[in-house]
C-alpha cells in the first residue's frame, strides 16, 4: 500500500513539473509560429529577387536551413545513441529516435526542394554530385534506422539496435563523403558549387538566410521537444496500462 502512495506522489510532482514545461513549450510554439511567419515575409516580400535565377532562388532560404538542421538532427541521433548505449535510459532513446524522425523529414524536404531549384537553374532535376549523393545515402541510412525500429520484435530491442545503427551510420557518413567526392572528381566537375552561390549573396539576402536559419532552428527545437514529450506520454500510458493489468491479474489470483 505504501509503495502505491509514493507512486502517486511522484506522479503528481512529475505532472506539475510537466505542466510547467508544457507552458514553456507553448511559448516555444508561439515563437516558432511568429518567427516562421516573419521568415516567410522576409523570403517572399523583403529579400531582393536574384538577378540571374529570379524567384526560384528563394528556395535557397528554405533549402539551406533545412539541410543544416538535418545534419544537426543526425548529430543528435549520434549523441543520443551513444548515451543510450552507455546509460541505457529510455530518455536518450527518445531523444535519438525523435531526432532521427525529424532528420528524415528534413532530409526528404531537402531532397525535394533541391531538384525544384535545380531543374530551372541546372536544367536537370538531379546530378550525381558529391553533396547530393552523400545526402541521398544519408537519407537511406536513417530511413533504414526508422525501419529497423518499426520491424523490431520489441521496443527495448528496437532501441538497442537502432542505437547501434545510429553510431555506425554517423561514423560512415564522412567515409561516404570521401568516396563520393573522389568518385565524382573522376568523371565530372561540380556543375555549380553552392559555395560560389553564397559568395555572391548581397547583404539583404544574407540577412534573410540567417534569419531563416534562426526561425527554422526554433521550429526544429519545438518539433523535437513535442516529439519527445509525445513519446514520454506514450510510455506513461503503456506503464499505466501495464500496472492496471498487473493489479487485475493479482485480484484474479486472490
Amino acid at each position: 500500500m505504501g509503495s502505491v502512495q509514493t507512486d502517486q506522489v511522484t506522479m503528481t510532482s512529475s505532472t506539475a513539473s510537466r505542466s510547467y514545461l508544457g507552458s514553456a513549450k507553448s511559448v516555444l510554439l508561439l515563437a516558432a509560429g511568429a518567427f516562421m511567419l516573419a521568415n516567410m515575409y522576409l523570403i517572399f516580400m523583403w529579400a531582393p529577387t536574384e538577378a540571374v535565377m529570379g524567384h526560384v532562388q528563394r528556395i535557397m532560404y528554405i533549402h539551406v536551413p533545412m539541410a543544416w538542421l538535418a545534419f544537426l538532427a543526425f548529430f543528435i541521433v549520434f549523441v543520443g545513441s551513444i548515451m543510450y548505449l552507455w546509460k541505457r535510459e529510455s530518455r536518450w532513446d527518445m531523444l535519438a529516435s525523435s531526432a532521427a524522425e525529424l532528420g528524415v523529414v528534413f532530409t526528404s524536404l531537402v531532397l525535394i526542394t533541391g531538384p525544384i531549384w535545380g531543374k530551372p537553374i541546372w536544367g536537370i532535376w538531379w546530378t550525381w554530385d558529391a553533396r547530393l549523393t552523400t545526402t541521398l545515402v544519408l537519407w537511406l541510412i536513417y530511413v533504414s534506422y526508422l525501419m529497423l525500429r518499426a520491424y523490431s520484435s520489441n521496443r527495448s530491442q528496437g532501441a538497442l539496435y537502432s542505437a547501434v545503427l545510429g553510431v555506425i551510420g554517423f561514423v560512415d557518413v564522412p567515409i561516404v563523403y570521401f568516396a563520393v567526392n573522389w568518385w565524382r572528381t573522376q568523371h565530372q566537375r561540380l556543375v555549380i558549387g553552392t559555395g560560389s552561390l553564397e559568395g555572391s549573396l548581397n547583404a539583404d539576402m544574407r540577412t534573410t538566410l540567417y534569419f531563416s536559419l534562426l526561425a527554422f532552428t526554433i521550429l526544429f527545437s519545438f518539433l523535437l521537444w513535442q516529439k519527445i514529450s509525445m513519446k514520454r506520454t506514450e510510455e506513461d500510458l503503456r506503464s499505466i496500462r501495464y500496472s492496471k493489468e498487473l493489479t487485475r491479474g493479482a485480484r484474479i489470483e486472490r
Binding site: L140, L165, W182
Partner: protein
C-alpha cells in the same frame, strides 16, 4: 593471443563443417551471382565496345548480391534451432564469436568470388589475374563480411529479416562498393583513373579498419540478451 584465436577458429571451423555438410551458402550464392550476371548482360546489352565500362559494375553488383545472400544465412542457421543460445553460453568472449562468424563469412564469400571471377573473365573477356583486382576483391570482401556479420546478427532478430538485411547493409557499404568498382575499372583496363588505384585501396582499408573496431563492439552490445 592464442587464447583469443582458438575459439575464433573453432567457431569458424564449426561453420565450415556445417557448410561442407549442407552446402547451403556457397552453391546457392554462386548460382545466384551467375544469374545476376546473365540478367545484367540482357539488361545492359553488353558489347565488346562497352564491356570495359560495364563489366566492373556488373561484377560488383553480382558480388554484393551474392554476399548479402551468404550473410543472411550466417545467423539464420544459428537462430533456426536455437543454437545461438548455445553459442552465447560458451565460455568465450563475444569478440571471439564475432570474429569466428566473420571469418567464416569472409571465407564463403571469397570462395564464391574465386569461382565467379574466372567465369566472369571468360564471359566478358578480360584478364582476371591482376594483383590489383585480387587485392581489391579481398579488401572489399573483408569490408562486406565485417559489416555484414553485425547486420546479419541484428536483422535475424527482427520481423521480415530478409528485407531488413539489405536495407541496412547497402547504404552503409556504399563507399566500399564505389571504391571497388573504381579500382576494378582501373584494373580491368580502359578508363583513365584520376584518383589512382592506391588511394581507393586506402579508402577501403580505412573503412575496413574503422568497422573492424566498431562492429565487434556493437556485436557485443547486440548479443547481450
Amino acid at each position: 593471443m592464442k587464447e583469443f584465436l582458438r575459439p575464433v577458429f573453432l567457431v569458424t571451423w564449426k561453420d565450415i563443417l556445417l557448410e561442407l555438410r549442407s552446402r547451403e551458402v556457397v552453391i546457392a550464392s554462386m548460382v545466384f551471382a551467375v544469374m545476376v550476371v546473365v540478367i545484367f548482360n540482357f539488361a545492359l546489352n553488353v558489347t565488346p565496345e562497352t564491356v570495359d565500362i560495364l563489366a566492373p559494375g556488373i561484377l560488383w553488383v553480382a558480388f554484393a548480391f551474392a554476399g548479402v545472400l551468404a550473410m543472411s544465412r550466417a545467423f539464420v542457421i544459428e537462430k533456426d534451432q536455437g543454437s545461438l543460445e548455445g553459442l552465447l553460453l560458451c565460455p568465450v568472449s563475444r569478440d571471439s564469436l564475432y570474429f569466428g562468424k566473420m571469418l567464416a563469412l569472409f571465407l564463403f564469400m571469397t570462395v564464391v568470388e574465386a569461382v565467379l571471377l574466372p567465369i566472369f573473365a571468360v564471359l566478358f573477356d578480360f584478364s582476371a589475374f591482376s594483383f590489383t583486382l585480387i587485392g581489391v576483391i579481398l579488401l572489399a570482401t573483408l569490408g562486406f563480411a565485417t559489416v555484414g556479420t553485425l547486420f546479419s546478427s541484428i536483422a535475424v532478430n527482427t520481423r521480415s529479416r530478409e528485407i531488413m538485411l539489405p536495407v541496412l547493409f547497402f547504404p552503409v557499404i556504399t563507399p566500399v562498393i564505389i571504391g571497388a568498382v573504381e579500382t576494378s575499372t582501373g584494373a580491368i583496363g580502359s578508363s583513365v583513373n584520376v584518383i589512382g588505384v592506391g588511394r581507393w585501396l586506402q579508402l577501403i582499408a580505412v573503412f575496413d579498419a574503422v568497422f573492424l573496431v566498431l562492429c565487434p563492439w556493437a556485436f557485443g552490445l547486440v548479443m547481450e540478451e
